[in-house]
Each structure stands twice: as structure tokens, then as C-alpha cells.
Subunit: 461 residues, 2 copies
């Protein structure tokens, strides 16, 4: 294959590309925080303008009840294939802020990495897609090698509550042969991967109420229900001693791994000793009977994301707390259903309601169905070829513990499968302090997008 | 008994007395909060100045490593008895602030009650003692009816860590026949009471650490220890299903109630239905085999005062928390020992350490031994007489769930027993939002102190 024209375009614009990434990272587009609504909108506008600059002919900012979706389409030739590139411009909250070495929204470059909230998840990946398409067009007389549509949402980190309706309402603009997800990553900096499954998600919050006021623990603690203690009791009820979720019916629809899938899991499993060292923990946790990799790939979880009750200040306060809160998300695997799982948890909470308390459950995150890729999809093969060219050897098979609700939406609404095509490192601390994104991977990712368009054009031609 | 002279003095100064109470309540003397150090000092100075104004000849502000102790002595005649009046001018933290109907440090009068942090615990009671002694002196040619010493500390709400050393170093200024505690209350607005026991206290904080950083729950939640879940597991381990503390050895030194003491408990027990209604709870909680009153009076407790971990904001954050904290205080009964109980909890936490975590225990509150009054003490009899005069009928016997570490200190350092002589109502919401103190009780309490000095003078004469 000849040295393609987009290589020079991309090589000559690397400094500008990094500067653009820093600019986008400075916008604190935290979608879960109502106080950041304007920032999320600013990020949406930035992405829309950048798509227009790249050459997308039809770019739209679609309003929703919370944060807009940016849609773009670049129709070149109806005879050529079309990819729909998916991503999101919103980010996770930055707290706990005091654990960041540099401010989360003042991106900083150290040792070839950009540190900042959203760097790995996924503003860096989002730019690789735009830059790759832009370079492909520059090398093809102003038009990318194939037809490209893009959809970048602002609600991925809160479970994509509006995406389904937007996709449904704009199906015509989004028609394609497959979706490429720019959200995700590769197995490592040197080993590419294809992700064939993603977990589903359901989120709830539990409020526990004891007495109608915080009380003096000396006067009341001996006989009045304590909400903080009750929260502990309820949290403890969700797992048995073997790390298995103790909610009745939770595993009923779970499809067991086949021997072949267990072998795929083992092929790329990190050894436990390295994990313990890297995370500085004395022991792993989780469901007995499965390796860490198997738990990550194919076992559902019920995760306590937060708990709070009573006095949290300096020193001591002898109080019997009246209220406690627990935040939970569950990660689901085929064929679990998010609504059914929330109902099972509701029944569990009622059954295990601590003595003397009242409990209340509310939803916190949009739900997502678990997703399993049909590997016979032709774009799966094209990505295999592109990744092999890009890294010099073929990708390994992966499954992701993370959830991208979009994949189920594209399947339901457009009948399209989603193939991951993204560059974040597995240890990039997305959702945590000191999130980072490697600059070398960023630059390779831009080339990756241009290369894949060529690969798909070749496959057609 | 003739109408004593101090009645007129007190009756003519009621408006000024209430104004003084509001003034003292405006000083946010929260002893546990390092940021409030200056306010605590301001309150100490206020009390010192007020004692000097009342006529105390020797008033001192004794510095400690945190908050000063105010000591005063008014020596009248070595042949007369001496009471040492104990109290504290510090207050509990005001949070949760948003549950207060009016600002905690902007005291407000509604329906004959003063609402504000520290109103019932115990700035109101503190003033009744000063005003009572002042009025006694006004009615006795400028000298109170007996010798009076006072000791008001600024660290009661953090467990009185400095009081022992101050009492030891100033034993000569504090010599007396008995201590009167102005911290506490009566059985009700119409029924007086003598408190014959107080619980001891020990406080700890537990830190639980999982991985060295908060992590993405999709990527890591299936196999990495979750600190929030672990906190729940540990909290749940502290009690069995019968509300009994499950720490090995916790009850070893507990003295069981006698049949007579159970009868005393039953004599003034609130009926459970009223408690449920008043606190709006469906059911009581606590150690099986004992009534609520028996639990309050004579059964030790382990109270979860606070817990926090992970994400507490709006919406959802899919995080595997790396750290969690639990605040605990225990209420102890004779003959439990605070240091021994902390050690038993330490062993328990090590034994029940959740899989894959590390735990760390630190102290949060000064410890206090449980206290049981020797009812043969003569001042016990004098208080009986004074309360009977004041309320028109004799006091009932009570035990307090609350802790006043000072009682054990006065016994150890000065050989003195402490008799409660205070006016707060049992439902006055001390340590909680909307703390209040009744103005009628305040005015009666001022009379009570002047009356008790007379009663003790009579007993001598």
C-alpha cells in the first residue's frame, strides 16, 4: 500500500492538534451537575464548530431536555459505505478534587501524557475521529474516502437518557453500515484489541430514614433506629461472603461463559500479583469461582458508589443520624434486563429493610442493556485489518466492564452494530483523579481514523 | 420558711437574664471545630467577665492545649459548706444547618422557648447557676448563703480531654463538699428528678482503604475491594440480629440491673407507643431482653455517628471508592472501662477487616468512665429538699444515657461525688437541629440555685 496522502497532513498538524485537545479539556462539561449546564453547552458548541471547520456539510446541535446532541453528516457517494462515529463530549465529576496533582480542568502535559478530566474519557478520542476524517478529506480532493456521519452526545456519563429519542428522530441523518465507537480504548499501548461485549447499567439511590430528626446518641442511641448503622446493614445484605450478589433472582438471566470464551479471557488476563501491586491492595475481591478477568468480562456486579450519613466533620459528634443515603450502580451482562434488575433490588431492599427504618428508592442513572457484538459483521473485519496495519499485528479479543448505553440504542433504533475504535489506555484513570491520555496514542489514533476510512473504501472498491 | 430575699432580686431581673442568654448563645463556641477556636475563647471570656460581675472574688481563665477552663471561687465562711458548680460553655456543631428553622447562632424566642445551638446544652443552665449565686449574695449582704466554687470548661463536647489535669492542678481552688452539675435536666417540666448514674464514653474513627485511588466501577468494580461496600460490611458486624453489640468481651464487665433498679426504670418509663409517635418511627431498635428505658439507663451501646465514602453529589458517578470512614462512639455502664473497650473494638475491626482492605483506627473523643452516684451522699438529700420545695413534690430517680466525663474526674481527682442540678427538658433536641430551652424552666432554675444554697446553709445551721 502506498504511503497515503493524509499522513503528511496529520504529521504537519500535530502541535495544533494537541493545543485543540487542551482547549476542549478546559471546558468543565460535567453532565451530572446542574450547575455546569452552561459549560456542557459550551462544549457542545465547540464540537459543532470543529466539525464544521473539518468540512462536515450538515452539522446540527439537537436540543434535549438536558444536554444537546451534536450530529454531523458528510455524504460523499451513495455507492460508498458509511460509518457512523459515536462519542460524547461530557465528562465525569472531578471530585475528590484534592487528590488531583494538577487541577482537573487545567490540563497539563507531563511525560508525554495529558492530565485532565475527560482526557481519556473521551475528549482525546473524539478529536482523533474529527482529525482523521478531516485529513482523509484533505488527501482525497476535499472529500473523505467514504461517507461519514457523527453523533456526539452530552449525557453519556449520566446514562444517555436522551440519546434513544434523538437517534430515533434523526435516523435518516444517521443511516450507516455500522457504528464506530470512539469511546473506549485498546488493550495496551502496543497491543490492539477488538471489544466484543459491553456491560449494561442500572443505577439507584436508596434513602434510609429513622427518627424525624438527628438525636443525641446518649439519650436515644440505645433504642432508636440509627440510619448510619442501618445503611451498613443494608449494604452488607447485597453480597454474600463469597462476593456473590445476594439479591434474589439477580443471576437468573446471566449467560455463563463458554470454555472458548474463558480461554479468550485467559489469553489477555493480567496476573493477579501485578494488579495487587499496581493498586496497592492486599487481596482481590469479587465473585468466587471466576478469575478477575472473567468477572470483569462476563459477570454482573452490584457496586456501592457512595454512602453517607451523620457527622462527617473533624472530631466527634455524639449523634444518632436520622437519615442515610446509598448510591448503587449495577453492571449487567446478557441477558439481564436493567428494569427487571432494579425491581429485584427494590424487592430486596424491602425484604432487608433495617428494623425501625423506612426506605425509599429513586433512579440515578439512565439504564443500559448489556451488549454483545455479532462478530460476523463486515466492519468488524475492516477494523481488524486497520488495527493490524496500525500496530503491526492483529488485535486480541476483549470485553469491557464499562457501559456504553449507546450500543444498545443503535442496535434497537437503527439496527446497527457498534464496533469499538478508540485509544485510551486501560490504566488511564478515567472517572478518577489524575485521568490521563497518552499523546503518542492520540497521534496514532488520528492516523487510525484516516486509515480505517481508506480500508473501508478499499474493501468496497 | 419566709419568702427569701433573692426572690425579688431574681423577679426584677428576668428580662436582663433572657437578654444575657441570647447574647451568650450568639457566640458559636463549637469546641470540635478548629476554625472556631477564637469563638470558643470569646465565650470563655464572656463567662469569666459574668462571674466577676456577679461578685466572684477569684476568677481565672486557665489555658489548656485547646480551650480554657474558667474557675471561680467565692469563699464566705470556712464553717459553711462549699459546693463546686460544674458546667461547660462549649457547644456541639450545628450541622446539618439546613434542618434548622432559624439560624443556630441567631437565637430566637418562639412559644416561650429559646431556639439556638447550646440553649439546652448548656448555656441556659450555666446562667441559672451564676444568676442564682448572684441573687443569693444580693439577699445576704453581698455574700452567697454558702461558699461557692465554679468550674466551667470549653471541651465537654469533645470529651473533656484537659479537665482532669486542670482539676488536679487547681484542687485547692476547687475544694468542696460536693459537685453540682449544671449540665443535664429534669424528668419533665413538672416532675423533678435526681440522676444517679451516667454512662461512660469512648470514641473512635475507622478509616478503610481499598485501592490507592478511586477507580471506574465498570473497569474495576468486579474484582477490586470497594471501600464503601466494605464500610457497610464492617458496620453490620458490630451488632447481631438482636441489637446486641457483637464485639467479643463487650459485656464482660457490665453490671446487670437489680430487680429494684428495673422497678425504678419502669416507674418513669415513657410508653413505647408515645416514643414511636414522637419520633415518627415504625418500630424501636436495640438490645433484645430489655425495655427502652433499661437500655437507656443501664445497657452499653455502640453508636454509628457517621459514615461516608465515594460519591455524594447529585446524580450518579460510577466509581469504586478507595476510602471510607466510620465514626463511632460507645456509651458505657459500670464497670466497663473506656480504654479496654477501645482495645476490644480494635481487635474486632482487625478480625472483621473486609477482604482486600486495610483499616486504621484513631481516637476522636476523650474517654469517660461510667458513673454511679453514692446515694448516701448528704448533698443528695439537700438537693432532694430543694427540688421538692421548687416543684412542690419530691424528685423521681433517673439515670442518664448521656455522658459527663467530669463526674469521673471529680471523683478521681477530688474525691467528690457529683449531683445533677439542671433544667433542660428531655426532648430539647440537644446535639440536633432546633435545640431549645424553655424560658419558664430557665427562670425556675435561677431560683433553684439560690434556693439550694439556702437549703445547704440551713442544713449546716
Amino acid at each position: 500500500m502506498a504511503h497515503p496522502g493524509w499522513e503528511a497532513t496529520l504529521a504537519s498538524s500535530e502541535d495544533r492538534a494537541v493545543a485543540e485537545l487542551l482547549e476542549l479539556l478546559r471546558i468543565p462539561s460535567v453532565s451530572t451537575d446542574p450547575a455546569r449546564g452552561t459549560d456542557v453547552l459550551t462544549a457542545a458548541g465547540w464540537v459543532r464548530d470543529r466539525l464544521a471547520l473539518a468540512g462536515f456539510l450538515d452539522v446540527r446541535l439537537i436540543p434535549t431536555s438536558r444536554h444537546p446532541v451534536v450530529i454531523g453528516r458528510w455524504e460523499v457517494d451513495a455507492a460508498l459505505p458509511t460509518v457512523l462515529i459515536y462519542g460524547h463530549y461530557d465528562v465525569q465529576p472531578e471530585d475528590p478534587v484534592d487528590l488531583w496533582e494538577t487541577a482537573p480542568f487545567e490540563p497539563t502535559i507531563r511525560d508525554g501524557r495529558v492530565f485532565g478530566r475527560g482526557a481519556a474519557d473521551m475528549k482525546g478520542n473524539l478529536l482523533t475521529a474529527i482529525h482523521g476524517v478531516e485529513a482523509s478529506a484533505a488527501a482525497n480532493r476535499g472529500r473523505p474516502a467514504i461517507n461519514v456521519a457523527v453523533i456526539f452526545e452530552g449525557e453519556e456519563e449520566i446514562g444517555s437518557p436522551s440519546l434513544g429519542a434523538v437517534v430515533r428522530d434523526h435516523a435518516d441523518l444517521l443511516r450507516a453500515d455500522a457504528v464506530l465507537s470512539a469511546d473506549g480504548g485498546q488493550f495496551s499501548d502496543t497491543v490492539p484489541s477488538q471489544t466484543v461485549a459491553r456491560k449494561g447499567l442500572a443505577g439507584i439511590q436508596i434513602a434510609i430514614r429513622g427518627a424525624n430528626s438527628d438525636l443525641h446518641s446518649g439519650r436515644y442511641g440505645a433504642y432508636v433506629p440509627n440510619a448510619a448503622r442501618s445503611a451498613g446493614e443494608l449494604i452488607a445484605s447485597f453480597h454474600d461472603g463469597d462476593g456473590r450478589v445476594a439479591v434474589d433472582g439477580f443471576y437468573d438471566r446471566v449467560i455463563e461463559l463458554t470454555a472458548g470464551e474463558r480461554a479468550e479471557a485467559a489469553a489477555t488476563a493480567e496476573d493477579d500479583a501485578s494488579t495487587l501491586r499496581a493498586l496497592d491492595i492486599p487481596e482481590l475481591w469479587g465473585e468466587a469461582g471466576y478469575t478477575a478477568q472473567e468477572r470483569l468480562w462476563a459477570r454482573p456486579t452490584l457496586d456501592i458508589n457512595g454512602v453517607w450519613s451523620g457527622f462527617q466533620g473533624e472530631g466527634s459528634k455524639t449523634v444518632t443520624p436520622a437519615e442515610a443515603w446509598i448510591k448503587i450502580t449495577t453492571r449487567l451482562v446478557p441477558d439481564q434486563d436493567p428494569a427487571e434488575i432494579v425491581e429485584l433490588i427494590r424487592v430486596h431492599v424491602e425484604k432487608h429493610r433495617p428494623r425501625g427504618t423506612r426506605t425509599e428508592i429513586s433512579g440515578t442513572a439512565g439504564s443500559a442493556k448489556p451488549y454483545l457484538l455479532d462478530r460476523s459483521n463486515p466492519v468488524y473485519a475492516a477494523v481488524d485489518v486497520a488495527l493490524t496495519r496500525l500496530y503491526g499485528h492483529p488485535p486480541v479479543v476483549q470485553r469491557a466492564g464499562g457501559t456504553i448505553p449507546a450500543t444498545a440504542i443503535f442496535l434497537d433504533e437503527l439496527g446497527l452494530h457498534t464496533i469499538g475504535y478508540a485509544w485510551s489506555a486501560p490504566d488511564s484513570r478515567s472517572h478518577a483523579p489524575n485521568e490521563w491520555y497518552g499523546i503518542a496514542g492520540f497521534l496514532r489514533g488520528r492516523r487510525g481514523y484516516a486509515m480505517l476510512l481508506d480500508t473501508l473504501a478499499e474493501a468496497t472498491g
